[in-house]
Subunit: 389 residues, 4 copies
């Protein structure tokens, strides 16, 4: 197989999980602008996710968020899985939510009150039950826990509580299940956050065991953080479980991945490829908001942005790079990397899509499909899904 | 008058305007945690604001937010002003809102569509009408306008539209009315913001004329920004119109002023005092959220934090400082400033309060007043005020 | 002329000024690593700059730094200009230096001591004398002035001193001469900087008059600052005089322009083009350090990076963009911009170079020229030029 | 013992190590401003350090930097230790230097070339030899290693090299010796840093074993980082070995500790006290530059700043705090902490000093001692110590 053929083959195996909540409404603390045609339940979210996979070919799974995507009945999740399958996709990671009940005002798993902690851990255990029903491998944990004011709570005891809660959930995991622990620099807590950085997530996962892995959300870092270094380090430690892709100019802006700094996305994907992370063991998920742009096309575009960054990462001439690095030729080594980055990979990806039996132009194909106007017409009445749905 | 007497006299003249919206519910994009006893209309907000002034003695005015505090009837605002007066306070600045209508998804005064711009400007003109009715001096303008993605709109044309809209509103101002233009680094827009920094606000105010002044919101700057430098510069230019006080560790966290970096607040107040800004020409307002803490006590505490920083700023030995600065004695000059900062001014402020006929301990006095339990009991039913109310 | 022909024609007019000091040694506070073949005087720097222009065709001028590039004799600068001309380049902006004398420990033009201020202003006036001799149009002013500790000096009085000093220098400028005022977020001062942001530079330039213009150094901003917004704003105000190009991940890293965030450089160049700034009235200069990489190739690479960003900016389909912006089609407007950015413009630039009679590959041509080994052999002995030379 | 007596007793046991290099000259990349009276060798540095301890009573040890403080002869370090002892101080941690040789342009222990790595590790082993001679417990390791450009080197292989080098040094440590690994966000490397955050340092120390501990340099974090959280976490993990104190507004500004954000220093010291870190197992060191201020008084002032923050941390009413935290009373919990912070502890510290037989006013006592003028007179000729000395 030629090198280019290998690159194409790799690109055809790519899988980017889309999040059910990105199909619903979202916004800032100032305002949620509703859009027309937005899904009103998990079934409709899966319909939309099916379209994204239909036109991109590399978005085969959909992450659920509990309780937003909770379904009733003893066969509820089996039905949901079947519904997904009929649309060409599968159910993916289960995402917990311990931040939207009034009880969680001062935290969930780290809350000073044991009653609230119990409730939070019970919710997580319920999520594992749902994983059993959906066949999901991954439980993705993001905690909004933290404090707003110095002294508000004991930041060290909160770590003890966190460790205790996580251990209980870890013990409940099945053999083929994993716990993915996400860290976040700040928000919604503004003074201290209980899992603020990769080091904290890593330290907890290390103690929990091999089924606990770290999630890198590309928007969850301090200004200036070298994210690809963290990716390389976690891969070296065998502790990189997943990505939550999105992009940011300032805080956790949750813009489309690759929109703010496409060069950074490329560097991240290069470290993934170089570190052996381009495998199913690392889950590549989107975690974005589409506050003002049309949601489905934004997700298609995001999937394509990940593809483009991956293609460029795969095109880096690693032999030439190794030589330049060994020789200490700073400019040449940088040039090898930039040469791949500056390549326009869109023609290559059009070829890849055509070889996969897809339209070369996913955005155009979606536009021409009429789905957008169909859902606007049909999804009338009911409550649109949203972050608070 | 001794120097300490002069400090006390100055402290007795202090006036910190509290914002009507801080008495209502607020939160992050993830969740608004409702509190018990929260006001359900502007009348009840004024009741609470009256309590803050009753116990602090230095919070004599209340900023309104339109349409959140809109009242009906031809005498509506006169009634509201009377209601305020009966509680010992007055109506203060009028704050516009051009970010919570669906029309404003892509901006208000900078929107690409002239119809939306017209609507936004009409709202601002209506705010001036309200000022006429309330007798307010200041129209405070904060625009959520901006873009989320490169290319989304023409960032330069948006400036032209902004200038045009501001000019129309400026022309409508009465002789004793002012326009206060606020800048903000980011949020809710995530790529470009139309008034992102003091330079932009200053440039617009300069062209508009003397009735246009800049507002410094202490939470609206890039990481590391030296805010007191901006204060000193705007005072030098005669363009500092007001403060929106709050504090931040990360973004626009809107925590209680002085909670995150009391030393910075002191340095800001020092430049205010040194630059001749401790006058009614500069409006000192709070603009905060109390997402998880009790609201009225949080506002009392915030007012006290401003008082403490002001007291320390007034205590700086400016004669000694000038000598050390002239001599280039870096350590001594710094020591003079730190000496004031390290002073515990709480005993002094207790004296000031007692001399003003107040309880020396506003937090305790409020607690003992029973107001907190009274409003929890009485304010049952109805819709609590909140950012979206 | 077709659109592509117009793009090519524009690219052929491009002019990027290279800085004499980038040919010398530089480093961090920890260590300056000397390189072989580094120039030992301004004459050799011009020799190197001639090579950069010879192979790129778009680096026709060289900025001087006084006193680093001071030459003796009544005809010194005329000789230097002749030397440059023989190498195909011209002398460009004169850069002042008021930060490397022991007198400047606490500042230069803002120093509390009038004697030091006099010395600083005299140096600036001398720089204008040199401009008369070199025929330079631009005096570029960067001040290291600021303070390290709160209280160290009066930050407002420092503005008065700054204004006074600048006014004296401004009055000395000839009819065709300009003063370019640079701002910088921080460093070497760590608490306050006397010209820390574009607003401060703009306010001073406004008062000075039309010959005073602002310089945007791309590395001199707070984290997260939207630089292209500043560019658009300064162009709108008629106050953008020049760029100092370089790139940064953290602080004022002074890496090769385009190395850290090529997308940002493209966005900046787009606002330049869109705002009518792609003219000789705006000086495009590099201001970089090459601490660990080979200097001449690094400068060639930097010039090419600016070219590539410019080419992409010129390729934006402004008609399609205007339509999408007018329609509020966020995704399409962004797509138009990204389409230009994702284009591989290297083939186009190779054509441009060939049409200009140059080698299509400047890096290769320089490498093959043997200049690098020639200067290593010949430049033995003497003192290498460096920041402190 | 009353509570206040316990606080005083604790304060009397405090020990802040001063760094030999802070007595010498330092500066920025732009300029090192020399001061009069600066030591010319390690012996004179110890003389100055002796004065700091003489007047503060809590600076009993002095960190050495190799090779800056290298002494010759078989008994060199024994002599040096004796010299120190005669001045009332002891030799403290040994600090390595692998950043000022030309060989280290592309790194030291992470360099792509094994020869350079060998040289770096040999230097570290030599430092352990010196520890044997001085009786020092701690080897403090800070690596300037990193890269300036994407692609310049393989960031993951650099971790492998780092691990290998550290392991060799670790193996060489004696039973009572420790290795302290410092992390730093950036500088002098500008794209990637090989030990950029506490997570990386922690991961390496964990694998090395119990004698490897993490150093928290208060100036080495991304903007907005909650340092006290890191302190609490490392203490919880048993991996906090030491502090390098200094303060910053922007980058690694190396200003006097407590000068930029005294509230942050207090919060850090509170977590130290609360987490059981106020013991000899955690080394409290200064690591600062005094570029423009007088050095010895700046160090005295810094020691006092640490003392004041410690005193306030010790004064926190932990019983009341625990109650408020348990009750979820955000404002009261914050108030308990602020109450300690707002206390003026200077009278208490004056008492502590007097009870220790010291002058209550260390700054004044030093000034009156005449040492400053004595060293200016006597230290004439020779080469002043500096970062490059």
């Amino acid at each position: 197989m030629t090198e280019l053929a290998a690159v194409k083959a790799a690109l055809k195996t790519q899988a980017v999980e889309t999040p059910s909540w990105a199909y619903g409404n979202s916004g800032t603390r100032f305002k949620v602008f509703a859009q027309q045609g937005v899904p009103r339940d998990p079934w409709e979210k899966l319909d939309d996710a099916g379209k994204v996979h239909e036109f991109t070919g590399v978005a085969p799974t959909v992450a659920l968020h509990i309780p937003w995507d909770k379904v009733e009945g003893s066969d509820g999740y089996a039905e949901l899985a079947k519904h997904a399958q009929e649309r060409g996709v599968k159910l993916g990671a289960i995402n917990s939510n311990t931040f939207q009940d009034d009880d969680y005002k001062l935290g969930s798993i780290c809350h000073p009150d044991a009653t609230v902690r119990r409730k939070a851990v019970d919710h997580l255990l319920e999520c594992v039950d749902i994983m059993d029903a959906t066949g999901s491998r991954d439980l993705k944990l993001w905690f909004a826990d933290g404090t707003n004011y110095p002294g508000q709570d004991d930041i060290r005891e909160r770590q003890d509580r966190l460790a205790e809660g996580l251990a209980e959930v870890y013990a409940r995991l099945g053999d083929d299940q994993r716990m993915l622990l996400e860290y976040k620099f700040f928000e919604p807590a503004f003074y201290s956050t209980d899992v603020p950085d990769w080091g904290t997530a890593y330290a907890h996962c290390l103690k929990l065991g091999p089924k606990a892995q770290v999630v890198v959300d590309t928007g969850h870092h301090a200004p200036g953080t070298n994210i690809e270094f963290i990716v390389a380090t976690l891969l070296r430690e065998g502790k990189l479980g997943a990505f939550d892709f999105n992009s940011r100019f300032y805080a956790d802006d949750d813009l489309m991945v690759g929109a703010a700094d496409p060069f950074q996305l490329f560097r991240i994907m290069y470290e993934v490829v170089r570190g052996g992370g381009f495998t199913p063991e690392v889950a590549f998920m989107l975690d974005q908001c589409h506050n003002i742009e049309a949601k489905i096309p934004a997700i298609i575009r995001s999937v394509m942005n990940v593809q483009e960054a991956t293609a460029k990462a795969l095109l880096v001439d690693r032999g030439a790079l190794a030589v330049a690095q060994r020789d200490g030729d700073v400019l040449e080594a940088n040039a090898v990397v930039m040469d791949a980055y500056n390549t326009d990979v869109r023609p290559l990806l059009r070829e890849v899509r055509e070889e996969m039996g897809l339209d070369a132009d996913p955005m155009g194909a979606y536009r021409r499909s009429g789905w957008a106007s169909k859902i606007v017409e049909e999804r009338v009445g009911g409550d649109q899904a949203g972050w608070g749905a």
